[in-house]
């Protein structure tokens, strides 16, 4: 769970920090792209959310060492973003949003060349290119010129070239861009599998909240260059006071009146679902609900802790 440390930086208990950004400000002329932003990106898979122009691009460019911050500091894998750009890029794999390839090359040539550019010996790069292309589902098409690839295949080859040198941190920008539903599912499966239990940390920048929810464990929301919220998706979706959603077979006024008589707050039902708020622990709340159901003759179909959708979390961050 995320909490603020003594310096006001959001951090995560028990997790190794992949990137640490402290009071980072980046200005392009008079425009402030990042405004005193501080955050820690822990190991695992993190989603980077924000509307266009929020500063996501600049944050990733800064992590890659392309942009010199106006003030503040940061480290990626323990390397200083101001001075160790090359060392950082050796540990990072980038899958850009735009189509990109080296013209005139086959897939295996392209990926092994990307490996050599990352510092791999040629023989290792070639062997690894075959492995990674197989993993990304391009084994059969590895000797085809990349320029003849479909959009889905181009997305996969971008992932392959980012993975070839075994990066410790993978930056994925809109990995499902232009993919059909099946391709999208397959790409998300790939991202999820590489980011869980394989020792590869992933930052996914995407506008698609379902994609983020599917593959990421936590999110960072950046708006107008400032960190608006960060934490595990599970924690962010929790509602204050831990209300419960109680689903009845059919709406029952007696049931809600009984709960209110017991001092609980009951929101107007949405269909057959009542949102019940109380200070009680969940087990005690369940017992109270069961008693009220028995007394009112209502039939309980479901009981679960109420959560928000990630979209609601994002919209709240956007409007707060």
């Amino acid at each position: 769970m995320a909490h603020e440390n003594s310096s006001g930086v959001l951090s995560y208990a028990r997790l190794v920090t992949v990137a640490r950004i402290s009071n980072l400000t980046v200005r392009y002329g008079n425009f402030t792209a990042l405004d005193d932003l501080s955050c820690e990106i822990p190991e695992g898979c993190t989603g980077l959310l924000g509307p266009n122009g929020a500063g996501k691009t600049t944050l990733l460019k800064t992590i890659l060492g392309f942009v010199n911050p106006t003030s503040g500091e940061g480290t990626v894998m323990g390397k200083d973003i101001r001075t160790d750009g090359m060392a950082i890029r050796q540990l990072i794999g980038l899958m850009p949003e735009q189509d990109c390839h080296i013209p005139g090359m086959t897939a295996v040539g392209f990926v092994s060349y990307a490996g050599e550019l990352s510092g791999m010996p040629p023989a290792d790069a070639l062997r690894r290119a075959h492995e990674v292309l197989e993993y990304c589902g391009l084994g059969e098409a590895r000797y085809r010129n990349v320029e003849t690839y479909s959009t889905g295949m181009k997305q996969r080859i971008k992932l392959a070239q980012a993975l070839v040198h075994g990066p410790k941190l993978l930056l994925l920008d809109e990995p499902t861009n232009g993919l059909d539903p099946r391709g999208r599912e397959e790409m998300l499966d790939l991202v999820r599998s590489v980011s869980h239990g394989r020792g590869v940390n992933v930052i996914v920048s995407s506008h698609l909240l379902p994609d983020i929810e599917r593959v990421c464990d936590r999110v960072i929301v950046v708006i107008k260059g400032k960190l608006r919220t960060a934490g595990t998706i599970k924690d962010l979706k929790k509602l204050a006071g831990q209300p419960a959603d109680v689903e009845l077979r059919e709406p029952s006024l007696a049931f809600s009146n009984l709960l209110m008589d017991k001092g609980l707050t009951v929101a107007p039902p949405k269909g057959n679902v009542y949102r019940v708020q109380s200070e009680l622990p969940p087990e005690e709340l369940l017992r109270v609900v069961q008693r009220a159901a028995i007394e009112s003759g209502a039939q309980v179909r479901g009981f679960e802790t109420a959560v928000r959708t990630l979209e609601e979390v994002f919209l709240e961050a956007l409007t707060s």
């Binding site: 996501k56 691009t57 990733l60 460019k61 890659l64 392309f66 750009g85 090359m86 060392a87 890029r89 050796q90 990072i92 794999g93 980038l94 850009p96 949003e97 735009q98 189509d99 990109c100 390839h101 080296i102 013209p103 005139g104 060349y113 990307a114 050599e116 550019l117 990352s118 510092g119 791999m120 010996p121 290792d124 690894r128 492995e131 990674v132 197989e134 993993y135 084994g139 320029e147 070239q161 993975l163 070839v164 040198h165 075994g166 930056l171 920008d173 809109e174 599998s193 590489v194 394989r198 020792g199 590869v200 920048s205």
Partner: protein, 316 residues
């Protein structure tokens, strides 16, 4: 028991092998450029075309040598022919006549070197790796300059070797520094072509646009050089002061000027033939001035490329 077994582990595995430190990526880029160039069959043909003067001279000298060796009466004719031949000028001709094929080779090697990367957003691949723009540009530049150097130096050395072994008694080795001088001139030509083509390529995202631009600059300025040469020749050197300098105001002109200035000759008619009507050659330019101009042009185009190559928008 099922016969279907996985034949390989296709799951993702981390790479724990060696990774070279940043600083040597330029050679990876240069090697790739050279590898792609060597696959072009036309390049091999152009290599022979660029050496045509040396090849023809080798054949001529071989037959002259053979005929006179078997026919003592021909010795007198051989002596007269050899007296007309100015050996350093043969290298000047070999170098000069290689320039047009060298332009085409430079275009084949370099017009698309950065332009194609611009088109395919390849800069995102390069610059997101531990490879900065210095290494990228140097790698692209070496990938053009090195093949041009090799293509020019091989026929020069072969011709020199044949001459040194066969025509010593005819004054071939009179200038002991001739080979070192040529070995100094050829890298300058390679650097000059590579710098210009890299600079022009960086301005476009289509190789054909870069090719057309460099070829346009080459032919327009070369027409000017030919015009100045014509004025000089027709006036037998009695021309206003700027003409002999403006003769060198072209891609070809600069390189021919460098060659003349370093070898220390003003040139003569090719193949040892008599100059028709005693046409005078444009004298060699000042060595410091022409080298300065070649260096300045090279630096300007490299700086253009330097400004154009950027760590472009990485995340949209």
């Amino acid at each position: 028991m099922s016969n279907i077994k996985p034949i390989a582990d296709l799951s993702y595995r981390n790479y724990d092998g060696p990774l070279k430190k940043p600083g040597s990526r330029w050679w990876v880029i240069a090697k790739n450029g050279i590898r792609i160039a060597l696959k072009k069959k036309a390049l091999w043909g152009l290599m022979f075309v660029s050496a045509w003067y040396y090849l023809v001279m080798l054949v001529v000298l071989f037959f002259v040598n053979q005929v006179t060796a078997s026919n003592p009466a021909g010795a007198q004719a051989m002596k007269a022919f050899m007296e007309r031949l100015v050996w350093p000028d043969q290298f000047l001709h070999g170098f000069s006549y290689a320039q047009l094929p060298m332009l085409i080779i430079a275009l084949m090697l370099g017009a698309g070197s950065i332009a194609n990367d611009n088109r395919a957003n390849a800069m995102l691949v390069y610059l997101s790796k531990p490879c900065d723009k210095r290494e990228y540009l140097f790698g692209k530049w070496i990938g053009i300059a090195l093949p041009i150097f090799v293509i020019m130096v091989v026929p020069t050395i072969i011709f020199y070797g044949y001459g040194a072994l066969t025509f010593r008694e005819y004054g071939f080795l009179k200038d002991a520094w001739l080979l070192p001088k040529m070995l100094a001139i050829i890298p300058i030509a390679a650097i000059f072509h590579a710098s210009i083509v890299v600079g022009i390529s960086s301005m476009f995202n289509q190789a054909r646009n870069a090719s057309a631009t460099y070829a346009g600059i080459y032919f327009i300025t070369n027409f000017f050089t030919l015009l100045m040469g014509g004025i000089w020749a027709s006036s037998r050197g009695e021309t206003p002061f700027p003409v002999k300098h403006l003769f060198y105001a072209s891609i070809d002109g600069v390189l021919i000027g460098v060659c003349k200035a370093i070898i220390g000759t003003k040139g003569s008619a090719p193949f040892g033939i008599q100059s028709p009507g005693g046409v005078s050659q444009v004298p060699a330019p000042n060595i410091a001035a022409i080298l300065g101009i070649a260096l300045l042009i090279s630096v300007v185009f490299v700086l253009i490329a330097w400004r154009k190559i950027r760590a472009v928008e990485v995340i949209g």
